[in-house]
């Protein structure tokens, strides 16, 4: 379970996150949506302490992360995998070597590495491309390599910062399908940050709507919910700001 308790973050005079509290249950797919600059990426980066909160607590499975330092925080990060909008792969390494680096960092015995990498690549459907370099892959394939790298250490949580923003609709669907399977087959808690309502709506069970560094509302998504009519993030936030409740609209 991920708990953020009154976390705040300031960059210079800009208050990126203002006393936000959030609870994400184990095994759920949780969306964080908001317009650019709403603070959603900063919030998700606080969950693995890539961004240190100025105030408040980040608690994962009962352990307060922002009290931890050095080696322990690095160990925790290995169970809180993350993927980004840019795939952030090593362009000078093959697909196989890009995934194996996560196992090297986790000090997995050498003999076990190849099997684990291939298992992870098979899961995302890229085992046949193991000897290719990222420069030879499409955007969607690169993102799937990043996902393979993220899940190879069997994390408890997968944080996704705008994972489909630079992808076309078909590739987006492929990536989301992989994320859903990770959640269903391995029970991994997934947090997806996006500004695209379609992305959030198609995979998430609950959504946190953010604006101006604050949480405006948490919404349960149901297959027949009102969100099918509400595709614009700005529209949702406008309605929330004017006192509307998307859960009972």
């Amino acid at each position: 379970m991920i708990i953020l308790h009154n976390v705040s973050k300031q960059f210079g005079s800009f208050e990126a996150i203002q006393s936000v509290s959030l609870r994400i249950e184990s095994g759920e797919i949780h969306g964080i949506i908001g317009a650019s600059g709403a603070g959603k990426s900063t919030l998700v980066r606080m969950m693995n302490l890539i961004e240190q909160p100025d105030e408040g607590e980040v608690i994962i499975d009962g352990e307060t992360l922002n009290l931890l330092k050095g080696k322990r925080i690095r160990q925790i990060r290995q169970s809180l995998a993350m993927i980004f909008q840019g795939h952030h792969l090593l362009s000078n390494k093959t697909v196989f070597d890009n995934v194996v680096v996560a196992l090297q960092l986790a000090k997995v015995p050498r003999k076990q590495r190849a099997d684990k990498v291939m298992e992870s690549l098979r899961f995302v459907g890229l085992d046949k491309l193991k000897d290719q370099y990222p420069g030879q892959l499409s955007g969607g394939q690169k993102q799937r390599v990043a996902i393979a790298r993220a899940i190879v250490n069997q994390p408890k949580v997968l944080l996704c910062d705008e994972p489909t923003s630079s992808l076309d609709p078909n590739t987006t669907a492929e990536v989301l399908e992989v994320l859903q399977r990770i959640n269903q087959e391995f029970g991994v808690t997934i947090v997806i940050v996006s500004h695209e309502m379609e992305v959030i709506q198609s995979v998430c069970e609950r959504v946190t709507v953010m604006a101006d560094g604050q949480v405006y509302q948490e919404i349960e998504i149901e297959p027949t919910g009102i969100h099918k009519m509400e595709h614009s993030v700005d529209g949702i936030i406008k309605r929330l700001k004017s006192g509307g409740d998307l859960n009972h609209a």
Binding site: I50, R77, G86, L89, S91, N92, V101, A102, L105
Partner: protein
Amino acid sequence: MPEVLLEYQSEIWLSIGETFIMVGFSILAALLIGLPVGTFLFLCRKGQLLENQVVFSSLNLIVNIIRSFPFLLLVIFLIPFTRFIIGTAIGTAAATVPMTIIAIAHYSRLAEQSLLDVPKGVMEAAVSMGASVKDIIFKFLYVEARSALVLSMTTSTISFISYSTIMGVVGGGGIGDFAIRYGYLQFRTDLMIYIIIIMVIFVQIIQYAGITLARKIDKR
């Protein structure tokens, strides 16, 4: 082979050997000290992993001062230090001292600039995977910047050859010093031209080898 080269064959080989010693030590110093210094400079920059403005500014200033010294003056300025380290300020061994110092400053700056080209996202991904600073340097930074680091070393090596021609002032010898002493001072212009041609060939070989290696390891 031209007669004049045959006539001075043994002296030329000796001079080439002296140049190799001076440049070889410089390359070694650049790799073993310059690269770590450049990496540390990069990591201490604003917004980087070990951000430390005081350390960065101090180290940056030292590197800048050494690099802005006219090399001939640096060699003379370092004579007491060279004497302290080697026991003498004269000879090829003594000449390696100023050469290694300029090599460290020269390559550390180029290495720092090569590392600046590594996308910030790669570092961010490394941190999110639980990488330590050592892991980030060896498994991410150097892997992504390796082609640029090789090209920087190529540029540095060519500069080291150029610097080595000055070392005659402290009896360091080398092929450049040979060209001055035997070619210029003894009015053997033909000999000087042949030596220049030999140096140009050296530089071409180094440049070609550097570019070929950099291309081979660049998979971007």
